[in-house]
Symmetry: C2
Amino acid sequence: MIVTFVHVWVKPEHLDDFIIATTENHQSSIRETGNLRFDLVQDATNPAKFVIYEAYASDEAAAAHKETEHYKKWRDAVADWMDRPRKGEKHYIIAPRDKSLW
Amino acid sequence: MIVTFVHVWVKPEHLDDFIIATTENHQSSIRETGNLRFDLVQDATNPAKFVIYEAYASDEAAAAHKETEHYKKWRDAVADWMDRPRKGEKHYIIAPRDKSLW
């Protein structure tokens, strides 16, 4: 099981656009087989900085996410709204260990 | 609803101790009223770097966590295992909005 923190810096004039598009992506992503979490959170000290917290049951499930229509739609929609390139940080899940607890 | 990323750098000789103590803290924390998530993840590029991803229904619920016996036991146990002071980053939750989805 893996988690990726996706750090996103958004142009101030596109905060609402980004939130709407990413919430839509969230709603489809949590229905994917192997998705465990897909949380969107906003930095309390900087409203233009977000993290998408994506947990998947396997590397394969995480890779399959990037082949979905909803991911590609989101990727293309947000491309011009980024203030700088987004950054993914891969992590291994220590707890919870039991997938049924997710 | 709020999320705190707690970044933790652990002395290499105490990785196992830290994982055992934090998994125990996780098991008690997820039973707290108002706790939504308490995930422990390990950086894929640095096994001595961890993040605790804590989501709570309110600031009050997050503050109440720090008054629990299991938190205090964990805090005292890990104190000498830290390689540098841990760092919390507060975030607001954008999605999921509905608490029942957590």
